[in-house]
């Protein structure tokens, strides 16, 4: 399959200009600060001398093109600057907090896919039934929900009124100890340490923010699944399969769903964009120590290096996720690489 190998190669090559574009935009964002960027990057407490140091460190006295290459060189070395509020290099901060965000995002995605895909399939198969109507209501309501508001509501109901959920502060109730860090994912680390109690506590703490995020992502996935499934089921090849006497299960899942999943996989990219954005809001509501709440704190403290580092990190993460999606798509769909447009 030389065609496919080439297609994958082209897809990989396409990320290069995108990453370059991302770097350019984040460079522009760091230099677009009103007034003197050096003043901003040095922080509120800086004196004349430290501002001068920052100016030289950032190369702000150089021409813009040189500045860009300095910036780029710093990035390659992993130098995103130093956070004023924590005093740590931004990269270290982000690396410390990334697993918390990823754990939340991924569990939310798994939960919403586990609900949305069967729901969308059912709605398509039983078009016009109550499942279909339920799906439509959920989808319309789901995209209307402000995540931060859903989060607050859930906290009120499940923490204040019912008392089922632990207090919405962080990844683990203060009476538990963090599991020894291996992956940074508490769920995995607590299991590795064979500490089921901590695992349970992690799950309880994770439940509300996960549901909040999952509710938000449910809608696009369910809608796309329903639409793709309807399209697949009305295709000619489904009629051929039925006319050949294949069983209902084979027709629906072997032929229908497998074709329907292709467009669903492509929309996952868009869903990731929403999730990563909504993540910031949810982390703030639940005081979740991920990179989103880190950025919010940095915003409040006018810690620009941290904010820009966060934006860049999010973009690179998103580019990587999209790349993974596209590559897995290329593995599922045999037509990739033959598409002569």
């Amino acid at each position: 399959m030389a065609g496919r190998a080439r297609a994958i190669g082209i897809r990989l090559a396409q990320t290069v200009p995108v990453i370059l574009g991302v770097v350019v935009i984040s460079f522009i964002l760091t230099r677009a600060l009103p007034g003197d960027p050096a003043v901003y990057f040095a922080g509120a407490m800086a004196d004349e001398q430290s501002i001068q140091q920052v100016r030289e460190a950032l190369g702000l006295d150089q021409p813009l093109v040189t500045q860009f290459f300095l910036y780029f060189a710093d990035l390659v070395r992993g130098d995103l600057g130093r956070s004023i509020s924590t005093g740590q290099p931004v990269l270290t901060d982000l690396a410390m907090r990334l697993p918390a965000s990823l754990e939340l995002t991924l569990s939310a995605l798994i939960v919403s896919c586990a609900i949305a895909i069967p729901l969308g399939v059912l709605a398509a198969v039983r078009q016009g039934s109550w499942v279909d109507h339920l799906c439509r209501v959920l989808v319309t309501a789901g995209v209307s929900l402000p995540t931060f508001f859903t989060g607050i509501l859930l906290v009120y109901v499940f923490y204040y009124l019912l008392g089922w959920a632990p207090s919405p502060l962080g990844r683990l109730d203060f009476i538990y100890l963090e599991p020894p860090r291996v992956t940074g994912f508490y769920l995995v680390d607590s299991l590795l340490a064979r500490d089921l109690e901590t695992f349970g506590a992690t799950v309880r703490q994770l439940a509300l923010p996960t549901i909040t995020l999952a509710l938000f992502t449910l809608a696009p996935i369910a809608r796309m699944t329903r639409a793709a499934m309807l399209q697949a089921l009305s295709s000619d090849y489904i009629r051929t399969a039925r006319a050949a006497g294949l069983s209902r299960g084979k027709v629906l899942f072997g032929y229908g769903l497998r074709n329907a999943l292709l467009p669903v996989v492509t929309t996952l990219g868009m869903v990731f964009s929403f999730v990563l954005g909504a993540n910031v809001l949810v982390e703030k509501v639940f005081a979740w120590p991920g990179i989103g709440s880190y950025a919010v704190e940095a915003l409040v403290a006018s810690d620009y290096a941290a904010v820009q580092g966060f934006v860049l990190a999010m973009a690179l993460l998103f580019v990587t996720l999209n790349l993974i999606i596209d590559l897995s798509y290329a593995l599922i769909d045999p037509r990739i690489g033959f598409d002569t447009k």
């Binding site: 399969a241 074709n259 037509r335 002569t340």
Partner: protein, 549 residues
């Protein structure tokens, strides 16, 4: 073997229940081939889906029975139907490429069916699937086993669909428009294969088609459907020779066939004498060494390879060939929508190919060269009423405004047989034939000298095709236009044209007076095209007489 009585099928729609099939009855004997013929919306496909019980959501068999081998299919349980489908009765469809699962190897799709019906086990499925592919005369079946549908040609896909249908040795094959969208030579190959294999196996078959000529050639008996009812049944030759029902007669008349003239296509009541058509001698369009090369990823594609021809004033020239032969590229260059790579197009002695297509809009000759498009629906702006559509060229390229404009638009509509009240309708509110008339009215709005007709009737039902072809002939006589008629259908071209150009692979393989090319083709490709075209049986004696005159 199959006995259908009073079968009715209805669909739930927003506007209540609609009956698509209304109480039809027919029988099919073992080994017999029945053709169900009808125009779009006649309910012919729905009949076949009802037999297989694979109606779309909302459709149901309302009444009647379909007894196959002593079992009523209309009443059978879904479980039993799954055993009937593919094993007892199977089906092939139009648009073969879409009829195959796009992301599954064709061999695996065959195995699915074989194993479902217990004709193969896991261990011998592959061998059996390859056998099934070989049975439909696919060469190199072993390699095709691993192919995906998108890697195969349309004709090849239809063979695979056919292999799936035959794999479990059914006794009845239903073919639903199996060759629509295929080239005429491929159509013949597929139809011959279907006929031979069903005959060899002693199978019965039902061919569903809009093409009366095709059905007559391949079927023992025909049933003509209209508005959900069968209006007439009979042996193919008898039906042609002496149609009983007025609708059958209209359909038989409208089917282009050797020996019939344009007016013969119309119902006898409305046949008026055709004006004499005498082409002039002065050349209007001269094409010299026209070449078009498209760049593409896999190197340049030579779509048109240096063709030359002359169209004289008042002449009607047919440009014939199968898909990909370069006829559409040629017509796009002539109408100045596409730039040529090299060569000249002299219009009235002036090289219009020298004016880039982008600039030609402002050329004085723009209004002289117009085109009627293939798909009447696609060629009308959905947001413009018929009046706006017809007025557009007048507004852009003449000074007529106000009352004069309105009068001109209405004159054009009348000329093209479009009732004036329809002028304020949008395309979706018009029928196929009416849309074709709007498209023609727009093309002739500025009295062009040269009109290119790009398969103007390909998307129309045969009875409407007859009317539109006659309209075009009348307009030619009245306005003295010169036509270039682009088509894949030699039978249609013969009716309207006095000169024929046959293209293959970007080259002209034969050209000459229509009668000569049709009666005594010199190039083997023209001979193939002619022999592949369906040949309806001889029509009524009255028709033969009028043709002899």
């Amino acid at each position: 073997m199959l006995h259908i009585s009073d079968l009715s099928v209805s669909f739930r729609t927003r506007r209540g229940e609609v009956e698509a099939v209304r109480g039809i009855s027919f029988d099919l004997a073992a080994g017999e081939t029945l053709g169900i013929v009808g125009e779009s919306g006649s309910g012919k496909s729905v009949t076949s889906y009802a037999l297989m019980r694979i109606l779309d959501a909302g459709g149901r068999i309302k009444a009647g029975s379909a007894v196959f081998d002593g079992r009523d299919l209309a009443q059978a349980a879904e479980r039993d139907m799954q055993r009937v489908r593919g094993r007892e009765i199977s089906m092939i469809f139009q648009n073969p490429r879409a009829a195959l699962n796009p992301i599954r190897k064709v061999g695996h799709q065959l195995e699915d069916v074989l194993r479902r019906h217990g004709r193969a086990t896991r261990s011998n499925a592959r061998a059996k699937a390859i056998e099934a592919l070989e049975a439909v005369r696919i060469r190199d079946a072993r390699a095709r086993y691993d192919a995906y549908p998108f890697e195969l040609s349309g004709g090849m896909c239809q063979r695979v669909v056919f292999a799936i249908a035959l794999a479990c040795g059914p006794r009845l094959l239903i073919a639903d428009e199996p060759t629509t969208g295929l080239d005429i030579t491929t159509q013949k190959a597929v139809m011959d294969l279907v006929r031979d294999l069903t005959r060899d196996r002693g199978m019965s078959s039902i061919l569903i088609t809009h093409d009366l000529g095709l059905a007559a050639q391949y079927c023992d008996r025909l049933a003509v459907m209209k508005d959900g009812q069968i209006v007439e049944t009979g042996a193919a030759s008898a039906l042609f020779a002496d149609p009983q029902h007025p609708y059958t007669r209209k359909l038989v008349d409208a089917t282009p066939r050797p020996g019939a003239s344009l007016r013969d296509l119309l119902p006898a009541e409305v046949r008026t004498p055709l004006a004499d058509h005498e082409p002039g001698t002065r050349p209007l369009v001269q094409v010299r060494d026209l070449v078009k090369i498209f760049p593409s990823k896999s190197g340049p594609v030579h779509a048109v390879k240096g063709i030359s021809f002359t169209i004289r004033e008042g002449q009607s020239v047919g440009l014939v060939g199968e898909s990909g032969c370069g006829k559409s590229t040629t017509s796009s260059m002539l109408v100045r929508l596409l730039d040529r790579t090299s060569g000249d197009i002299l219009f009235d002695g002036f090289d219009i190919a020298g004016v880039p297509a982008d600039k030609f809009v402002r050329d004085a000759r723009r209004s002289q060269i117009q085109m009627v498009f293939q798909d009447a629906t696609d060629s009308l702006n959905p947001r413009h009423s018929a009046r706006q559509t017809i007025a557009d060229p007048i507004l852009r390229m003449s000074d007529l405004r106000g009352a004069a404009l309105t009068a001109r638009v209405e004159e054009l509509a009348t000329l093209c047989g479009l009732p004036l009240p329809l002028l304020d309708r949008f395309p979706h509110q018009l029928s196929g034939g009416q849309k074709a008339r709007v498209g023609i009215a727009r093309a002739i709005a500025l009295d062009p000298k040269f009109l290119i007709l790009d398969e103007p009737t390909a998307a129309l039902d045969v009875s409407i095709q007859a009317v539109v072809l006659n309209l075009l002939a009348d307009l030619r006589a009245r306005l003295g236009m010169t036509y270039l008629f682009v088509s894949h259908d030699l039978n249609v071209v013969r009716l309207l044209c006095d000169h024929v150009i046959v293209m293959q692979g970007g080259e002209i393989v034969e050209q000459g007076p229509a009668a000569q090319v049709m009666e005594a083709p010199s190039h083997p490709y023209t001979q193939t095209l002619l022999s592949a075209a369906p040949k309806p049986p001889a029509a009524r004696p009255s028709l033969l007489k009028s043709a002899a005159e």
